[in-house]
Symmetry: C2
């Protein structure tokens, strides 16, 4: 029996649960163990059969779900699908694995699932930057897909149907944790710990149906903000007691409470620095409060001087996280995870990997990615980020053979709470993600968090096949596979970043952050451009990398083209490994990037008639904006550097 109030994606997109695998699973007889762990599976099977009108056959090929505790190789979360004649057997070591295996079968079918499927990381998390109350940047900060699925009218939603559908979608990917509110914790959201705890418990209950634990972003100043104390000093016994008691109440009310996410001493947020304490003092305070309940604190390393003087070339924001946190390695409790953005700046289309991720040796690490396209087209541009993340996880592959790749560093057994986290791109939009193609990014993130060695184009194909009919899927893969590099080509060149409109971050403004206090400069003058971060003559940022990598970045001759302006200030006439000068590279790539967008749109137009409405129009209207915006990027960046350098285009093109 299905409760009448339970539904299956009513009025919203089914995403990767729309594909052929669903029907192939429903065509079987399905045997479930007599086990609480499959209650949600049983319920969803009933919903799915109703949705597709497929009655369970009385006989024939069977799918058997089996929990086998002897399969310790699978861990509690892993599973394996094997054939037994015409039957399929889904074996899991524990309850969570049964669920993940079942949802994956629905997504991509048994053929894609050969051998044991075990997640690489224990931490596979999504961070929502959702506010109870809309702020200047909207209800979902840096959200481009409508309002919050969790909150409305200043409280947790009464109807959590969309949260259930969302949990199901991300469970297909093996996600196991969700932080439901914005790391910039404003006043109303501080009270998630208190007044809104019943609502948090309801959300957590729905997420728990799909094995997801629930995290809260908290303000370090909560003891003060909530009016209970006059200090938030982490060494003050009253503060210790406050967090202990507050955490006890949350854990008592929310059985699947995972812990806290904290942005402290960052972009104006309060933190331990206020009290002359260190970040390990701050993080350990919360870790100790969480320890009795097995909880974890995710402590963000995004600490830098956001009131920098642009005249001061000695201060380098790219150094900040490493400079602040490396000396603290080894001082954190076991249940502290340092959450480090993948690059040293802030989710630019191209950055080197944060040196802190390789520098820390003792501390558990979460590498933070950004699924929401803050700096990559804001879900109006079709940009598939899988290749970007894959390259981050492979770092420093290609630069040296002697340093293990980040994806392996994140699974070192002595810091087992490591893994990936990412800022979600989801909202109340019908398609969940604004641009229908942005679903690919949510999908790819989840898949890479499960298996970081996957080929991102394979993941893209998997997503497309689960989402669109084959002809469309093929075109969508062609459109998206290289779209990250296309976006890079028509925006900020050679790793320099930041040429965006201030505040909202959409569209070009080459000098938009050049004279700002944010530490985000390109230093373009009439002779050259780029940031000298070398040890020899610059800020010394290169020395934060392992020596094998530092040598490459430090060397003007060896530094990869795509990061040249991140590490070096060079004349416009500098010749790249590609053979082009820097200035000609700027002209050429901007023209090429725009032309690639036009080609993407042509490819889309070929298959658009096969795509049902409203998806067809939703994509088409966004492509029109992407073309317009790409031309604007091309022309503003080209004109800016033409006016500055005075070097004409070698191909004789007229720059406006």
């Amino acid at each position: 029996m299905i409760p009448t109030d339970e539904t299956w994606f009513e009025g919203t997109d089914e995403c990767w649960l729309a594909g052929p695998a669903v029907a192939s699973v429903l065509g079987r007889r399905i045997e479930l163990p007599d086990d609480d762990a499959v209650r949600t599976v049983a319920r969803d099977l009933a919903l799915l059969r109703r949705r597709h009108g497929i009655v369970e056959p009385a006989a024939g090929p069977t799918l058997r779900l089996v929990r086998d505790p002897s399969r310790t190789d699978l861990t509690a979360e892993g599973f394996e699908v094997t054939a037994d004649g015409d039957d399929l057997v889904l074996t899991a070591g524990g309850g969570p694995g049964l669920g993940y295996g079942f949802w994956r079968l629905l997504t991509c079918g048994p053929e894609a699932l050969t051998g044991p499927q075990v997640p690489a990381y224990r931490v596979r998390m999504l961070n929502h930057w959702d506010n109870l109350v809309a702020q200047e940047l909207g209800q979902v900060e840096r959200g481009y897909a409508g309002g919050s699925i969790f909150f409305a009218d200043g409280r947790v939603r009464a109807d959590l149907t969309r949260v259930r559908d969302y949990a199901r979608l991300v469970a297909c990917l093996g996600i196991n944790a969700v932080a439901v509110n914005n790391v910039n914790v404003h006043e109303a959201e501080t009270r998630l710990l208190t007044d809104h705890l019943d609502g948090v418990a309801r959300v957590a209950g729905v997420l728990a149906e799909y094995g997801l634990s629930t995290y809260l972003a908290v303000s370090f100043a909560s003891p003060v903000t909530l009016g209970d104390l006059d200090t938030a000093d982490p060494l003050d016994p009253r503060v210790v007691a406050w967090w202990s008691e507050t955490t006890r109440r949350v854990a008592a009310r929310v059985p699947t409470f995972g812990g806290y996410v904290v942005k402290a001493d960052s972009e104006g947020r309060p933190g331990p620095f206020t009290y002359g304490r260190s970040h390990s003092d701050g993080a350990n305070l919360l870790a100790d409060a969480l320890a009795p309940y097995g909880g974890t604190v995710f402590w963000r390393a995004f600490v830098y001087d956001h009131r920098q003087d642009w005249r001061d070339r000695g201060t380098d924001r790219a150094r900040a996280a490493y400079d602040h946190f490396l000396p603290l390695d080894g001082t954190f409790r076991d249940n502290v995870v340092l959450q480090v953005k993948h690059g040293p700046m802030d989710f630019q289309v191209r950055e080197p990997v944060s040196p802190l991720l390789l520098g820390l040796r003792e501390t558990s690490l979460a590498c933070e990615l950004q699924i929401t396209q803050e700096y990559t087209g804001q879900q109006r541009h079709a940009v598939y980020l899988g290749p970007c993340w894959s390259q981050v996880l492979a770092f420093p592959t290609g630069l040296t053979d002697t340093v293990p790749p980040l994806r392996d560093v994140l699974r070192q057994p002595h810091r087992p709470r490591s893994g990936l986290t990412a800022v979600a791109n989801v909202g109340t939009d019908r398609t969940w993600t604004g641009h229908p193609f942005a679903q690919a990014n949510l999908y790819a993130y989840g898949r890479l968090a499960w298996d970081p060695a996957l080929d991102p184009t394979d993941v893209l194909r998997e997503w497309a096949a689960a989402t669109y009919e084959p002809t469309v899927a093929e075109a969508v893969v062609e459109i998206l596979a290289g779209s990250w590099l296309t976006y890079e080509r028509y925006t900020a060149p050679l790793g320099v970043g930041w040429m965006v409109q201030p505040h909202h971050h959409y569209g070009p403004s080459v000098d938009g952050y050049e004279y700002s206090p944010w530490g985000t400069y390109h230093f373009a003058d009439r002779d050259g451009v780029g940031v000298d971060r070398t040890v020899a003559t610059g800020t010394g940022c290169t020395a934060q990398y392992p020596p094998e990598v530092a040598r490459v970045y430090e060397s003007l001759a060896d530094c990869p083209d795509e990061l040249l302006l991140f590490f070096h200030h060079v004349p416009y006439t500098h010749v790249l490994h590609s053979g082009a000068t820097v200035i000609q590279h700027v002209y050429d790539t901007h023209v090429a990037g725009y032309d690639e967008v036009v080609a993407m749109v042509r490819r889309w137009e070929e298959v658009a008639p096969l795509v049902p409405e409203p998806t067809r129009s939703e994509v088409t209207v966004r492509f029109a904006e992407q073309v317009r915006s790409a031309a604007e990027w091309r022309d503003q960046v080209s004109t800016y550097f033409w006016r500055k350098s005075g070097v004409p285009d070698a191909h004789g093109r007229v720059i406006p």
Copy 2:
């Protein structure tokens, strides 16, 4: 008897009614005619005596107010103060003149009032950009002095005490009309014509006590917005009838209703272009509706393409008002006043005078000034604008002897509804204007609207003497006299304008509007800077001026330095009349401008102890911000042009 609910500046600044003239008037016996026209004078005298505790003497020197209809030379608004032994006689031709004479006596005493005082213009208006409901830019658009004195909580205020005090302040200056709401008429404000008419009548009643008529800014689309019609086509008889009936209702409810102010087909506002009609069709529609009640429509000429392509160098926003409106000269009803911003762009610190103001021959004209310091420091910088306006009104004095100055053009008898209007700088702030020194701008505007030939430094002295004790007044005059030129020096050089942060317009961003759709470019490249508006090689804007003036602006050799980059694109090495190159001028003036601010602050610190709190702190805290901001301007502009030109400072100063 004073009604108990009437007060004299309770909790707010008395501005120029704080000076010695008040006591000198109160020291006399005062004889008023038995005349309704002096009811407000009588009431205010009683309030003033209570405020100062000065009882009217039973005998001794007397001030006699006399209405003498035979003095037609004074018109209804003029007055004359004469001595009769120890007595003073204030003679006026009509009721309004009695009031103006009395308030002026309170402001500056009889010594300043020799000979007949008759206003140069019939139109002496203030435009408030106040909204009922706060918008993105606040409740008062481009307001820097708190909220609206007229509106709160989406309606006209219940308590209009501050409106009465404000009316008294501006009556001291001879202002005779106030438009109470923003020319950008949003949805709520459209209903000032309907739902809020009672509130408008109450405001108008208070303003009328001081001889001020009340205007409403209206949306051209009102017949549609208010839901009555499906068109606002000015030639549709239903639209004609709608405006006729609506205006009849307003005029019936508001005896001192002056008419409408309209921003049509401008920055996204609706207008006659929507219906393929001309601006005279649009303006005449409203003029005809107003004619039975003697009303006037102020039709703004601020019409240009705000969706311009920055790549298109052929389109010139500076040409737009002239191109749109000159062909319509002679097609407007007598009760249409074309309201033209003083410069062809938008209230930049330096612009030439709008050629439309001299070009139109048959149309009544209001030259629109901006008292609120949108582009001149937003009432955080001390900038006295009197010299700027005085120079506008004297234009083209100094360039040619054969063209009469604008101040005389505005009083040509065949278009009697001409004069000045200005965007007010007033809000609910204690001092009315945010910066206490910004009161000087409100004062100077009113005085120049009464007598445009006044020396602006004399006006400044008059204001300071009426506001501060003599030692402070002397210092404040020294501080403010040259402050407009100081502001020009540390901001955008040589008439080029627009180097401000987009949207809010505070602080420097040299390229902030360079690649925008707003038509606001400087075209700086590595070789030079400026906008070529010549006939010979540019947009031909110079040809919109009278030939004697056009010749000067067209000529690179003759064009005044301060407007060079407005009319010409020149190399950085171009030598100015001053003897400096353009680039060296940029460096030198930015250093000088900042140094002048520092000197202003030093002068202030000498007299600050003599200034009572909270005024002392209000000024001091703003000066700290002005110093910080001036350094930011100096450094950003200098660095921008240093990076672009590569020309070092001739004085060897290090540019950051």
